[in-house]
Amino acid sequence: MKIAAFLPELLRHLFKKPATVDYPFKKLEVPKDFRGTPYLNTEMCIVCRACERDCPAEAIEIASVNEAEKRFRMVIHNDRCVHCAQCVDSCPTTPKAMHMDRLFEIADDDRHKMKKDWIYVRAVLKPKAAAPAPQAAGPTA
């Protein structure tokens, strides 16, 4: 036990650069595999609905717009999204139709503005490139 054990450490820090970052003005880099917001590559989506089924937050919604044209609409509710990237894991196609980007400053004052939607025609992949049928898709695909 000694008096003022922290003194040398405190005085050393007096002349050091602060460890904190002046956040809104300076930003830190997020790592390469950061899980930001999900987005869809419409050219690859075969509408298997695996992402919709596995999404723990029920943030993905796929609805049919025009049955005849095989036209679908996917809505991602970023206000509900928990950024777990399970949709990317569940996506059976190669390359994947679901992706995560590195955006993290997505807060908004209106939850309706946080929706993202895509209207697209279902992709028909050649058997060679196509992954197994949606029902057989494992969670770790």
């Binding site: 820090h13 602060p18 460890a19 904190t20």
Partner: protein, 323 residues
């Protein structure tokens, strides 16, 4: 003309306005040093280097809703912050930086003003206790009880250590004490022990870590200030800021040789010396963790009071040797 001068003296310099500006600057300095000691930034964005942050905080609080609890003693509750501010600002007028003439004692510098300053610095503690008691909140009540318990711990060592240099200088007037030590700077070294004890006691008086027990937020929420909000809280915080300036000014007068060299140089002395004392106080704040109320009292009486008595003895013996 005399009326205008007096008014300027009271309101502008060194009265309320100057004290307001300088005490907010001191709060900024304290916060910045504390943050840098902890490897943080401290205030950065309001004004240059965040200099205006304490002022912004003050005005923000002034604009907030002001709630007076139903069960409280409303008149006392409202009037106490104003009295507290008035008391410490009055103490500010007595520091021998401004408006004193060594040869002619006046209203702001007279024999015995050191006692008056100490008395005026003791009053905020009592006001704090009354404020806590009048707000009838269990947390405030505990905080108020702690304020008084702590008072019995640090007040005696503080008085003893501040008065012993005065005994050595054979004067009860701040300006004369300062002049005595300016003439014989080596004697200041004999008061070093007293200075350290006084810094710790002032830390306790200002209720800063490790003595922030009366308003320890993790234990009793806001403690004495739990029910205070808006303007009244802003005034209380300003009171504490000014008390910080006045106490460090008092320590600088008594232990660091005062502020020689007329109005301008003296003022520079004042700024440098008070900031030095405030730096020591911030360092102490960063260095320690909050102790318990029983530990405060036993620490004060086991260590601080004997050291203060020792300092007093040294002063008396030295005085005998010198004469």
């Amino acid at each position: 003309m005399a009326v205008v001068r007096t008014l300027l003296y009271l309101v502008v310099y060194p009265g309320l306005l100057f004290l307001f500006v300088y005490s907010t600057f001191c709060e900024w300095f304290d916060r910045k040093v504390y943050a840098r000691l902890q490897n943080r930034m401290g205030p950065t964005h309001t004004g240059r280097f965040g200099l205006l942050q304490p002022i912004a905080d003050f005005f923000k609080l002034m604009a907030k809703e002001d709630i007076v609890p139903e069960a409280s003693d409303k008149r006392l509750f409202t009037v106490l912050p104003i009295i507290g501010l008035a008391v410490v600002s009055t103490a500010g007028l007595l520091l021998p930086v401004w408006n004193f003439d060594l040869a002619n004692p006046g209203l702001t510098s007279f024999s015995g003003d050191i006692i008056v300053v100490l008395y005026l610095l003791s009053l905020p503690t009592l006001i704090l206790f009354l404020a806590a008691w009048s707000s009838t909140n269990p947390f405030s009540t505990i905080g108020g009880a702690r304020v008084l318990t702590m008072l019995f711990g640090y007040e005696v060592p503080l008085f003893l250590t501040i008065l012993s240099p005065a005994i050595l200088a054979d004067s009860w007037r701040l300006a004369e004490i300062a002049a005595f030590y300016q003439a014989k700077p080596l004697l200041l070294l004999t008061n070093l022990l007293g200075f350290l004890v006084a810094v710790i006691a002032v830390q306790a008086k200002l209720e800063r870590t490790p003595f922030d027990i009366p308003h320890a937020e993790t234990e009793i929420v806001g403690g004495t200030f739990t029910e205070y909000s808006g303007k009244k809280l802003a005034l209380f915080r300003l009171t504490f800021d000014i008390e910080l300036v006045i106490s460090s000014g008092l320590l600088a007068t008594v232990f660091l040789g005062g502020f020689p060299g007329g109005a301008v140089v003296g003022f520079i002395h004042f700024v440098v010396k008070t900031l030095f004392v405030i730096f020591l106080l911030s360092l102490l704040r960063a260095l320690t963790s909050r102790i318990r109320i029983d530990q405060v009292v036993s620490f004060a009486w086991k260590y601080l009071a004997p050291l203060a008595v020792l300092q007093l003895l040294v002063a008396i013996l030295l005085k005998g040797l010198l004469s």
